[in-house]
Symmetry: C2
Subunit: 214 residues, 2 copies
């Protein structure tokens, strides 16, 4: 019975994800579902990225609790809606469906959906996004792609973050590239540092997003 | 119906957790359920801790995939069993129940259960452990206790790890202590660095474990 209920939940989710996808496509909005561990730097990355992107961007922030991330994104100048899952381990399509009317979709090029910090569950739920991005901090170690394959397999883009910490990690950027490519040879890989004041290396990612969106 | 099924799953889990607890208590084994984000340093911490502890210790390693962590623990000299959840986001009491016969419980003082790297789901499932420990890397940022309260609330011990990275984090150890204490004033807090070759600061934790166990 447990399996049957899980199937029903996923079928209901997929139906709403399709509705979200159609609504976003109708308005020409590309949406990116950002996955990653707690503290991989998803919000910091958006803080750095938003002012640099020549694209009208909105953000949905997903967290178990608090509106901390939405406050940071608002300060970065983008329209944002915070979703609190109240303990839930992932966003689902219904949550996104409920907050989409809060955005002026006709005026947006790009909608970032920052999922709950969790390298497992969010990958199992389609939100209606165009693509999934995984943010991985080098401080998490070299073995994460192999140990969390279901998430890395679904990523169109993997962003290696906090590369200023590489000297403390005992492996090179090339090593981590190889680990990601072993699990997902198709993923576009970018490396950057989202820490304030650091050289961020975001140019390539900004160019890639601007080239592939709109 | 979804809620009802969830209740049934948790009730079945609790029954097996009770059985695990009774079996461990019968043999005088203290068990610690170690929670934390992917890459918080749970396995590295065990690698450093096991050779220093004057307690007969075994380890259960939980991961979605690979036996990487069990191989590391075996190299550190402790009896270990790897559980692969095949995509599952947490360990449950049934999984522990199935592997406990693989240990010589009569000869153990302490059983570490390293859960799947996930700061959300594992906290919801009692495994029959004596207490929960949360490992938090400073590289994850200052806001994790407030953003993942359900996990931090259940911790008897919080281990702040990777303190060698503090100079790059924009906050102090005192700041992080305060954030943890705001969510869970009862938690014992230790700070250390599990990176190989670094000054680890594990003495206090070793002393505390040896004093409270046996």
């Amino acid at each position: 019975m447990e399996l049957k209920v899980k199937e029903n939940i996923l079928a209901a989710n997929d139906a709403l994800a399709t509705a979200n996808r159609q609504l976003l496509q109708k308005h020409g909005v590309t949406s990116l579902n950002i996955l990653g561990s707690p503290g991989s730097g998803k919000t910091s990355l958006l803080e750095r990225l938003l002012p640099r992107l020549n694209l009208a961007s909105g953000v949905i922030e997903g967290d178990l609790a608090t509106a901390k991330d939405a406050e940071r994104i608002r300060a970065a100048g983008a329209p944002v809606v915070q979703i609190n899952t109240n303990g839930g381990c992932h966003l689902d399509a219904r949550m996104i469906n409920q907050v989409l009317p809060g955005f002026d979709l006709a005026g947006l090029d790009l909608l970032f959906i920052e999922n709950v910090g969790n390298l497992v569950c969010p990958a199992g739920f389609d939100l209606g996004e165009t693509a999934k991005i995984v943010v991985l901090s080098v401080a998490e170690g070299l073995d994460k792609p192999a140990k969390y394959p279901s998430t890395f397999l679904k990523a169109a883009v993997v962003i290696i973050n906090k590369i200023d910490l590489l000297p403390f990690c005992g492996f090179s950027l090339d090593d981590l590239h190889r680990e990601i490519e072993t699990v997902n040879p198709q993923a576009q890989i970018f490396a950057c540092c989202s820490r304030e004041g650091a050289e961020d290396g975001l140019d390539k990612l900004v160019n890639w997003l601007e080239k592939h969106i709109k």
